[in-house]
Amino acid sequence: MSDIVISLDNVGKRYTLRHQGKSERYVALRDVIARQAAAPFKAIGEKMRIWNRTNGSHPNGSSHPPSNGAVEDFWALRNVSFEVKEGDVVGIIGRNGAGKSTLLKILSRITEPNEGRIRIKGRVASLLEVGTGFHPELTGRENIYLNGSILGMRRAEIKAKFDEIVAFAEVEKFLDTPVKRYSSGMYVRLAFAVAAHLEPEILIVDEVLAVGDAEFQKKSLGKMHDVATGGRTVLFVSHNMAAITSLTRRSALLRAGHCVYFGETQDAVGRYLDSIRSQESRYEASPNHGIPSIARVEVFCSQSGSVHESGAPMRVEFDLYHPEPIPSACLKFQMVNQAHVPVLHFRAFDHPIEICKGSGTTKVVCHIPRLNLNVGQYSLTAYFSDPPGGQCYQHLEAVCQFRVVILNKTTLWGWRPEACTYHEEAEWRAAS
């Protein structure tokens, strides 16, 4: 009977959103004073009226203090409960904004929950980023000590592991060079190496495997595998379903701040893939009048359920809303794979089509005769501006999820998402 080392009981985290045009990350004292002072004297002064309008509060809502219209609670995490046993390796999956990072931040005590309670038995080390605290002016050697201490290692521990870390990172020759002169590959290798040699009882890891070149990624996955099978308790967040499946046995699936499933990784991953498949083959938003925007994006795949057979034609449609003519409107989009790497880039402005000439909505269609993407999950990033590189009206990310499969190729050997990004048609001959 194994012990429960992490138990979450109805954990919730609330953020307060302030609608003030652009989201502010910090407040100025002046605003706080102004807000306090404005409450009783709301109607006076032109300045105050402008201020209220930008806050989005109701013009006739004199019974409300202005903050009512401007502040909204947002639960990044709510009623999340699960238990992790000693030695378990647990994955945490979910779409962007599902609350994964918030959960990790709470577990690693970077931020505090607003409700619920968590019990953790054992020493926790968390790795939300590689190379936290690395200082560019310091040498590799110095940064190993610095980063190690920040992650909670003792000096003696770092000393004992020093050679191992250096060997793992393959930076022996550059130990006494400031890391600002490192190549970015060396930098992340060193950073990962320090982190990988942490030896806490509980390890919390966020998406750190996506560093370095392919060979190093393999090595870091291997290291993670050692950690995972070494009897340590690990919580592991990733968008890389292949890594989740190979490293973890149980997973928590988060959706909109709730833990919708906790159990076998296979099931969790299946549900996750289902959820992103069925929902999002189409993006639609009602235009905000007066501001040009992308009203619709839709991907037409070769098969139903947003599944596309590699090599088949594909059509992508856009509805662009423009209240006035836009002389040199620019529309472009990318196809992004599940490792968040843009694989293809399509630019409407390279083609002699006229868009956004009148006022109203322009429908733009992009026809791709043969889309030879490798298998995997893809999404679109769309960008609408005037002119190219100029004022950006809208930048949509991760819309129109679709899945590429290869079914008709006459071979036993399947394709894996990490094999490549794109297929090119080729002719093979055997010359005897």
Partner: protein, 273 residues
């Protein structure tokens, strides 16, 4: 086994234990700040000497030569420098500490450790500058053939007091600066203004007797008087004990309110920074 309970509004009981556990981080962050500070500067660590030295020269000319303030037979440069040491430390500590969390935003939002370490580390870094400038004081003493007496041995105590005097307001301003970036503009003002309401360029016995107690509400008055007393053979008039006690009290009040405010807002730093 180490057990941890995370709940809203709970200030864990092992906070101070954690602080102890992370003590190496203190040292290593202070070391990082020191070793990085003078990288890519032509004259390097001389900056740490040059700034107080030039300030001392100007103060000696303005207050010693032009205003002819009393010096009780002590060479005016030494009189000024004895005060310049704690004042520069206080000013540096306050500005460095108040910016420290904002500068180390990545650390705050990605790793847990007792946040107190960062501003406290910044104050410690300034302490190193104090030690470097103390070497300059030794040179001045040799130059003016001025020998301190046994009172010099009490200097560590006053240094500790200076440390605490800087730490309290430092923590308060650090925590406030995370939420209200206004304090970025307040701190230079405090530092500039404070120089003139602290007895740096002159001995504090030029203040009329009836105002001295009020004057000692400025915690740096006690610290500077202490430094002068220890360094200048106690020779700047009588040591004004009630004022010193009041300054100590103000230091303690700032320290406790600083720690209290810092601790109570610490949990939300990662959200608002």
């Amino acid at each position: 086994m180490h057990e941890l309970l995370i709940e809203p509004g709970r200030t864990e009981k092992n906070y101070w234990g954690d602080l102890w556990r992370f003590r190496e981080l203190f040292y290593i962050l202070a070391w990082r700040d020191i070793s990085v500070r003078y990288k890519q500067t032509a004259i390097g660590v001389i900056w740490a000497l040059l700034r107080p030295f030039l300030a001392m020269v100007i103060f000696t000319i303005v207050f010693g030569r032009i205003a002819r303030m009393p010096s009780h037979g002590i060479p005016y440069p030494i009189l000024v420098f004895a005060a310049m040491l704690p004042w520069q430390f206080f000013a540096n500590a306050l500005s460095e500490a108040s910016q420290s969390l904002v500068v180390n935003e990545r650390l705050v939002s990605k790793v847990y450790f007792p946040r107190l370490i960062i501003p406290a580390g910044a104050v410690i870094t300034s302490l190193v500058d104090l030690l470097i400038s103390a070497a300059l004081l030794a040179v001045l003493m040799i130059w003016f053939r001025f020998l301190p007496d046994w009172r010099l041995l009490t200097l560590p105590f006053f240094t500790l007091m200076a440390f605490l005097a800087a730490l309290g307001p430092g923590l308060l301003l650090t925590a406030l600066n995370v939420k209200f970036r206004d304090f970025r503009y307040v701190v230079p003002f405090i530092v500039q203004f404070g120089l003139f309401i602290s007895p740096v360029g002159f001995s504090s016995d030029v203040i009329p007797q009836q105002w001295r107690l009020l004057y000692s509400l400025n915690p740096m008055v006690g610290v500077i008087d202490g430094f002068r007393w220890a360094i200048c053979q106690g020779g700047t008039g009588e040591f004004y004990l009630p004022g010193f006690a009041l300054s100590m009290l103000v230091v303690a009040v700032f320290l406790f309110s600083g720690i209290w405010y810092f601790r109570s807002t610490e949990k939300s730093f990662a959200d608002v920074i």
